[in-house]
């Protein structure tokens, strides 16, 4: 689109081209810059710092050598993505025994999370934290994302990503506040009871499409008005019996009331 307009307006073409090239260049620099920052190259010192943090905060449950115990699974081979997912969403460290680790305000700084991730991924190779290139959804197809979402995600997270109940008090959480990075990490690592969807069965383009679809869900478009939590007919039923019938009964009482 931009290139075609450049061709059409020759007089302004050159200027626009210059501006375009400049912004693209700056943008590219910014993107690659941030990509490096978010995908830390593990230096020895970082691994060392991570190990220290690990022994302080994680070893009680996951074992001194991350081999796992009755209180927590082994972390060997879970990869940096798993650490980043669990710690940056505050799920780990666990506050106490529950059915499932809940999302909560996180207790580690970004540097600490990176150090922990570096340490755990140094133990054995595993899924890496996605780069900003991984998370670029510009080329992804929204409709395909929807189809993949309905095939692979909606069964637990509900058609609108609002979450759903699982067995024995466990649940698939709402995706309404999940960042694209966290969604990606959840898909590759399969945290808690969620199954994993590795790149081999769900390639990066498909993950991008799903992320694009979830981001679209997060926009909160409600063409028909108040979405009632997007839980389907249950909340519609609650609405008709409370607000709906309530309004009509109030009208009926008004009609039947004596005028003084």
């Amino acid at each position: 689109m931009t290139s075609s307009s450049v061709r059409r307006h020759k007089a302004t073409g050159l200027a626009v081209l210059m501006v375009g090239l400049l912004t693209t260049g700056i943008g590219y620099a910014a993107v690659t810059g941030s990509a490096e920052a978010s995908a830390p190259t593990a230096s020895a010192s970082q691994v060392e710092a991570g190990k220290k943090l690990y022994l302080e905060g994680c070893a009680t449950c996951h074992g001194l050598a991350a081999q796992g115990s009755t209180d927590g699974p082994s972390l060997i081979g879970v990869g940096a993505a798993a650490v980043d997912f669990q710690v940056s969403t505050g799920r780990m460290p666990l506050a106490g025994p529950t059915n499932q680790a809940p999302r909560k305000p996180y207790s580690y700084s970004a540097d600490d999370v990176a150090a922990l991730a570096a340490f755990v991924s140094s133990l054995a190779p595993g899924p890496a934290i996605p780069t900003s290139e991984d998370l670029n959804t510009d080329e992804a197809s929204l409709a395909e994302g929807g189809e993949l979402f309905r095939t692979n995600c909606a069964q637990c997270h509900n058609f609108a990503g609002k979450g759903g109940a699982l067995s024995e008090g466990k649940y698939a959480p709402s995706l309404m506040n999940s960042s694209d990075k966290v969604i990606w990490e959840a898909m590759t690592t399969g945290p808690q009871n969620m199954p994993n969807f590795p790149d081999t069965t769900m390639p990066a383009e498909q993950k991008q499409a799903i992320i694009k679809y979830i981001k679209n869900l997060q926009n909160g478009d409600a063409p028909g008005g108040l979405a009632l939590g997007s839980f389907g007919p249950v909340t519609e039923g609650v609405f008709i019996w409370t607000a709906g019938l309530g309004a009509l009964l109030a009208a009926a009482v008004w009609i039947g009331a004596k005028v003084r």
């Binding site: 069964q155 699982l166 067995s167 399969g190 069965t201 478009d221 409600a222 008005g225 108040l226 009609i255």
Partner: protein, 340 residues
């Protein structure tokens, strides 16, 4: 008391009310002409506003395109056309209603009137006359005497609906054994749903879930023009550590810890993929039947009475996962002829 012919006046609560109807109170609008005029103005205003809203509706219909959205704070980002059409139409209709009722309550006579009730049944003479007419008819037709006519008529009438029922036969084919079969057969490649790529065992990690179907299903669907094959053939693949598999439906039906199960619930047929990889439980979102995939897909909770059928799998020469055989038991809900 239980006599059904007792007439109304002698039953129940008596004719004469024990307490008289309370005296009629005049409303403010009955006594104060200014209040009455005010009520009249209120009613007229509502009717006029209603008419205005109809004009608003037409303006909104003509000017607001269907693809415009507007943010309404807590309600969300809603479609402008739907919002404006609904508000103007709903408002217009509502105002007619409120206006009419306000009119009735404030300005129409509000003195309660008493009406008498009469017994519901017909008078005795009518009942007698009806019976007599019926008797005459029966006598004139000879229905009572002419037994042969009566009996053949009843026989004919009893049989006449039969063609109407027979005609329904072609609503569908007979079931035959179709509910016992799926398209899966030995050597069918397993492909990922949506993308249709074949799968190698190493593509699955422990804890991986794949929604899958047999290769060529889409083409078959195209050819048949229905989703019937898909409704029975869809499966899920999961991988666990081989030592975690306690039981299977057949010996070595897994491939290195990769198990394939039908996706169709044995209760009433919902597709299930709520796989909880730590517990190996598969939960149905419709009625919460829970199957343990590490233990032959047996039911551990909920209303389903049958285990989830397992598909035996292996790899082909090129190293892709294939069905080692078709399903060994019918997939989906039970049916009368299913048997053990």
């Amino acid at each position: 008391m239980s006599d059904t012919t007792t007439d109304l006046a002698t039953t129940g609560h008596g004719d004469e009310p024990q307490f008289p109807l309370p005296a009629h109170h005049l409303r403010l609008t009955d006594t104060d002409p200014r209040a009455a005029r005010r009520a009249e103005r209120q009613v007229a205003t509502m009717f006029a506003l209603s008419a205005l809203l109809v004009v608003g509706f037409i303006v909104a219909y003509v000017t607001v395109p269907t693809e415009n959205f507007v943010s309404l704070g807590p309600i969300g980002v809603v479609n402008s056309s739907n919002l404006l059409l609904g508000l103007s139409f709903g408002g217009a209709v509502l105002l007619i209603g409120i206006g009419a009722i306000h009119w009735a309550k404030k300005l129409m006579a509000d003195e309660e009137v008493t009406d008498e009730r009469h017994p519901v049944g017909s008078p005795q003479e009518d009942k007698d006359a009806a019976l007599a007419a019926f008797q005459t008819g029966v006598a004139e037709s000879g229905f009572a005497e002419r037994k042969l006519v009566r009996r053949t008529l009843l026989g004919a009438l009893a049989l006449f609906p039969v063609p109407l029922i027979v005609l329904l036969k072609d609503m569908g084919p007979l079931p035959g054994t179709s509910l016992r079969e799926t398209v899966w057969k030995k050597g069918d490649r397993i492909v990922v749903d949506v993308t249709k790529q074949p799968i190698r065992p190493e593509d699955l990690r422990v804890g991986t879930l794949v929604s899958a179907s047999p290769e060529g299903l889409s083409e078959l669907q195209e050819e048949q023009g229905t989703q019937n094959a898909r409704a029975k053939a869809s499966i899920i693949l999961v991988r666990m550590r081989p030592e975690e598999i306690r039981n299977q439906q057949g010996e070595n039906w897994d491939y290195n810890g990769i198990l394939a199960f039908s996706k169709i619930c044995t209760h009433v047929g919902c597709p299930i993929a709520l796989y909880q990889q730590r517990t190996h439980h598969l939960l149905c979102p419709c009625h919460q039947s829970t199957f343990d995939l590490a233990d032959s897909g047996n039911v551990v909770f909920g209303p389903a009475a049958r285990r989830m059928p397992q598909l035996p799998i292996t790899v082909d020469d090129e190293g892709y996962l294939v069905a080692a055989d078709g399903f060994q038991e019918p997939v989906g809900p039970s049916f009368w002829e299913r048997g053990a």
